[in-house]
């Protein structure tokens, strides 16, 4: 894990809390960044919200646990949970292996248009990470 360079998928938007969001039709796919999975280390547990749950931008909607600790996952946009990734529930290591692909967490049906525009683009996110501005 740690010997591979960190990637920043250019087709995603990012939060300062290390979630990514990608428009897919009328849904927003959400996961955690490659940087975040690398920082967390081996992920052993993911708690998903129920389908239909309302999520609010900036509020915790899920928990990811590494061997060492539990970390809250925050919603990049507001809306309702349209889908959750059952593969990740069964094999949480997918988040480590493919954070932007097979390791996606939830799909959100957005309720507040324009929230995606407030997120960081890949370049801005990478700059903040590398400058050590984000926890």
């Amino acid at each position: 894990m740690s010997d591979k360079p960190i990637t920043y998928s250019p087709d995603c938007k990012y939060t300062e809390t290390h979630e990514w969001a990608r428009q897919e039709g009328d849904l927003i796919v959400v996961g955690i960044s490659d940087y975040a999975q690398n920082q967390l280390g081996d992920i052993v547990f993911v708690e998903m919200p129920p389908i239909g749950d309302t999520v609010q931008a900036g509020k915790a909607f899920s928990v990811i646990e590494s061997v060492k600790a539990a970390s809250d996952i925050y919603a990049p946009v507001s809306g309702t949970v349209a889908a959750t990734n059952a593969d990740v529930v069964n094999d949480p290591a997918l988040v480590n292996q493919d954070a932007f692909g097979a390791g996606w967490l939830v799909k959100i049906r957005p309720s507040q248009p324009g929230e995606m525009d407030k997120l960081l683009d890949a370049t801005a996110y990478q700059q903040k990470v590398e400058a050590g501005e984000l926890k």
């Binding site: 081996d42 052993v44 646990e65």
Partner: protein
């Protein structure tokens, strides 16, 4: 601001790609390649740990034995030369100052023993003060060797085979909890068949100048067998599976050895600080007991989480995690004795939700073939 201390291997860890974290006042590697891979390396091959943060005290003098008998729970009078024994420093009320490993070694003259006491890094200053405060009329010399001696652990089923490539003497003759001296440079070190992982393995003590050389030599000798450096993340998961206590979790100044299932380390038939309190507790029974449990519902118990039964708080989790060897979410925690029987079910409160857990046999992991 408190400055974190670094071992002589700090730069070596950084060069190996370690992620460094604070542990007991020290900046130590939490992981190199990843906690799960490192954990499995120790269970199936061998792993090298920098444990130089631990404190090492030497006790000599004609009253060394009576002094340590007065301070420590184990009966050290029955120790043979070059034996290692687990023992606890207790307060007068029976709670724990620290847990230690005691090594009885030849002193000067060789027939008069010196004792090496290995203590937790986070408790080193407290233990040193405690031991000095209780010198009383004992004719002893106390020497803090922590900064002069380096300590490494090399643990796993292949540890003996690999170390044998570096040492002329027959390591298979070194029995469990026994030590012997070895030559290093112009000086001498100590190698002991002890550890904190639940695996076979060794701990090495030697002059600090040789730290980098010996670290590199062991990893090189073990490269073909898959030996790797291991961080504190896996050190914790390994000791947890083997139910080895960690100060601040299973034992502390609010817990007695009897409550923490460490009565076997307490010789209540001799006098020591805390003995009367422990004897009374043994007769009257403990109010809380350390148990191992498995999560029945999906979720991970963590240190500090509440344990409840039918909505009523009954205890607390001391350590909990995904146990890599078992592939299960397991925990250790304190509950009243009536909830300690195997198969008992209770709830662990995980982020406000009561999740079902069941008391299971401990240690969770015992190495194959261990008699």
């Amino acid at each position: 601001m408190l400055t974190l201390r670094r071992t002589p291997l700090y730069d070596t860890h950084r060069a190996l790609g370690a992620r460094m974290v604070e542990f007991g006042g020290w900046e130590m590697p939490v992981q190199y390649s990843g906690i799960l891979a490192e954990h499995q390396t120790v269970r199936h091959a061998a792993g090298l740990f920098d444990t130089d943060h631990m404190g090492q005290f030497e006790v000599t003098g004609r009253d060394a034995l009576p002094f340590l008998q007065h301070l420590l729970t184990a009966d050290l009078a029955t120790m043979e030369m070059f034996e290692a024994r687990y023992a606890i420093l207790c307060y007068a009320d029976g709670t724990c100052v620290d847990d230690t490993f005691v090594y009885k070694l030849p002193g000067r003259p060789k027939t008069s023993p010196r004792y090496l006491i290995v203590v937790n890094a986070s408790n080193r200053l407290k233990d040193w003060a405690w031991m000095n405060a209780h010198r009383g009329g004992f004719r002893v010399n106390l020497h803090d060797l922590s900064d002069e001696w380096c300590m490494l652990a090399f643990q796993g089923p292949k540890a003996e085979t690999i170390l044998q490539r570096l040492e002329p003497f027959d390591l298979s003759a070194l029995k469990y909890h026994r030590a012997r001296e070895f030559k290093i440079g112009q000086g001498r070190g100590l190698i002991a068949r002890t550890g904190y992982t639940g695996e076979d393995g060794f701990e090495l003590f030697f002059p600090v100048a040789h730290a980098k050389h010996l670290w590199d030599a062991i990893l090189e000798a073990g490269q073909a067998d898959g030996a790797l450096p291991i961080g504190f993340g896996a050190r914790d998961s390994l000791r947890f599976e083997a139910k080895l206590p960690l100060y601040g979790h299973e034992i502390d100044a609010h817990t007695t050895p009897l409550e923490a299932a460490l009565g076997w380390a307490c010789a209540l038939d001799k006098m020591f600080i805390g003995r009367d309190a422990l004897l009374k507790q043994k007769l009257e029974g403990v109010a809380k007991k350390l148990v191992g449990f498995e999560m029945v519902d999906r979720g991970i118990a963590r240190s500090g989480y509440e344990i409840a039964k039918d909505g009523r708080a009954i205890g607390i989790v001391t350590t909990g995690m995904f146990a890599p060897t078992l592939g299960k979410n397991l925990g250790l925690g304190f509950v009243p004795p009536e909830f300690a029987a195997l198969g008992t079910e209770f709830e662990v409160i995980v982020r406000g939700k009561p999740l079902k857990a069941r008391v299971v046999k401990t240690p969770f992991y015992e190495r194959p073939g261990r008699s």
